[in-house]
Subunit: 124 residues, 2 copies
DNA sequence: ATACGATATGCACAATAATACCATTCGAGG
DNA sequence: CCTCGAATGGTATTATTGTGCATATCGTAT
């Protein structure tokens, strides 16, 4: 194994993409988590979409689809009013937000470990 | 938490996609692993591509790119001859093939564990 | 009553990204 | 010199994904 190769291996990083799916269809991943997170912070789907730099159309559609497929209500929506309306997370929405974050963190941690073992083996 | 929701959670499955990247660019993942695997079995890039149902152009391009970026020679190529030519894995190619498989398996195992913890929490 | 701003929703379209398809050259053994 | 895989460059095609636009609904503060 050349010096060159060993140096390259040091610079390699692991990439990961995880999600949850129902009937082969992805329904909850980092995107949805970010959306719930932003809504919780911002108070509305509109503001959340802006904060994430995505169109309202997409944010709304994504959430709608996930809710439909999972049969879960993530948001408490309120239309009208002085501010036009607002959205907040339902208890279930909060639960998904929290537990998914934990799942994600755990996976990331394990991947980092497995990766460092891989690196060690490759250098050997 | 409704009965309906609990039943849904049972049916959810985790999805994963992992890969290795250098300078933000993905260079080795399941696809490349499959390619090395098929070449090892089939004896040529041509046959490997056919076996995987992808175009020779793509198989060749993918490998070429990975080799270039990583500075690793995965294949021992031989052009010409009665059979037109053939390809086999170099020792390094074999090492990547083997160790990546192990890394991948380890990650899958851990994801399955983290996921089942997630399910347990969600049902609670 | 009216205005305002967010939710709700359909649909056509742009922007990529990914992959297939085609054409040509190289190379060595039969 | 014929064959068939390796080696490459172009270009066409497809798939995915998000955007933009138009339109309607809704409820409160003014």
């Amino acid at each position: 194994m050349s010096i060159r190769t060993t140096a390259t291996i040091q610079k390699i990083k692991p990439g990961v993409k995880i999600w949850l799916s129902l009937n082969k269809e992805g329904v909850f991943g980092h995107g949805k988590w970010q959306l719930l997170d932003a809504i919780h912070r911002e108070g509305s789907l509109r503001a959340a979409a802006d904060a994430l730099g995505i169109s309202y159309r997409k944010a709304w559609g994504d959430l709608r689809k996930a809710e439909r497929i999972l049969g879960v209500r993530f948001l408490e929506r309120r239309r009208g009013g002085a501010a036009g309306g607002e959205s907040s997370l339902t208890p279930e929405g909060k639960k998904w937000h929290k537990e998914y974050a934990r799942f994600h963190t755990e996976v990331e941690t394990e991947i980092a470990r497995a990766f460092s073992r891989w690196q060690k083996r490759m250098k050997a």
